[in-house]
């Protein structure tokens, strides 16, 4: 898998450190709704057959209407589930050694890509809320830059504490690098070089 496909405007020597998507639970809840949408009309139809005088006859006009209605309904719930999966699949957060890129698919015709430089980060907060989130280890990571700027939110990502810790670590490395390159600076820490092959996909 080539993670660099997610952001074609890659900078010189920029390396992906984290490639994040929402936790599988966020697509699983749509899957449960999808299963319910499949089963419920069948149950309602069986109950309707039991308690009404209607009998299913192949070729009768009412049966044709019901069959074509059901066919259209199932096609569209299939389409909606696929749409939810694409929405899940195309929402990506890329953390590199230089910046954080938020790629968000909003519906069918809207796509937002925003980024912030890693050295501009002021505060990183991880949040695990609720029993399910604690059990399945997913939550949000809030990244704050300057007060007037909108903060980044990685919502429902797996292992939010580890991700927050890694971002803080990257921020420190970036700051150390900047200080090392300032004229007159004595700091030349070898550890400040960003790890080359650290690429994790959750």
């Amino acid at each position: 898998m080539d993670p660099y496909k997610y952001f074609p405007d890659r900078r010189v020597n920029e390396k992906i450190v984290l490639l994040l998507r929402r936790h599988w639970h966020s697509i699983a809840k749509y899957f449960l709704v999808f299963i319910l949408q499949i089963i419920l009309p069948i149950i309602i139809f069986i109950v309707f057959l039991q308690f009404s005088e209607f009998t299913w006859e192949k070729g009768s006009p009412i049966s044709v209407l019901i069959f074509f209605g059901a066919s259209s309904y199932y096609l569209f719930i299939w389409l909606f589930f696929f749409h939810h999966w694409i929405d899940y699949y195309l929402d990506v957060w890329v953390v590199t050694d230089q910046r954080i890129i938020n790629i968000e698919q909003k519906g069918l015709f809207s796509r937002t890509i925003s980024e912030l430089n890693i050295e501009k980060i002021q505060d990183v907060t991880s949040e695990v809320k609720g029993k399910l989130a604690t059990l399945l280890k997913f939550g949000d990571v809030h990244i704050q830059t300057a007060a007037e700027e909108k903060r980044f939110i990685f919502s429902e990502i797996p292992e939010p504490r580890e991700v927050a810790a890694r971002i803080v670590e990257l921020h420190r490395e970036a700051e150390r690098k900047i200080r090392a390159h300032k004229p007159g600076s004595q700091l030349h820490d070898d550890k400040s070089s960003v790890e080359s092959n650290v690429s994790r996909t959750f």
Binding site: P61, L65, F68, S71, L75, W78
Partner: protein, 84 residues
Amino acid sequence: MTFPLFVILIIYIVVIIIYLIFSAVLLYHIFRFGYWDSSTRLMVFLYFIGSLVIIIATVVYAIDIDWSDSITLFSNIEFNFSID
């Protein structure tokens, strides 16, 4: 309210066309912004298979239908628009 049965067929064809347009847009998104890995291939394959199963089942059902027939809906409802 009585109307010819083939109206249902026409409505269904319109539904299929809308469905195909939305499917094309979704597939465009995958090819344009996504990555052609195994999970994507599996999802696209399942999507095609699921759609084909529904459409083929409907076509097989539609073959034996007498489309010259007509359908009456809401025959028990009487409309009275007169003002006394």
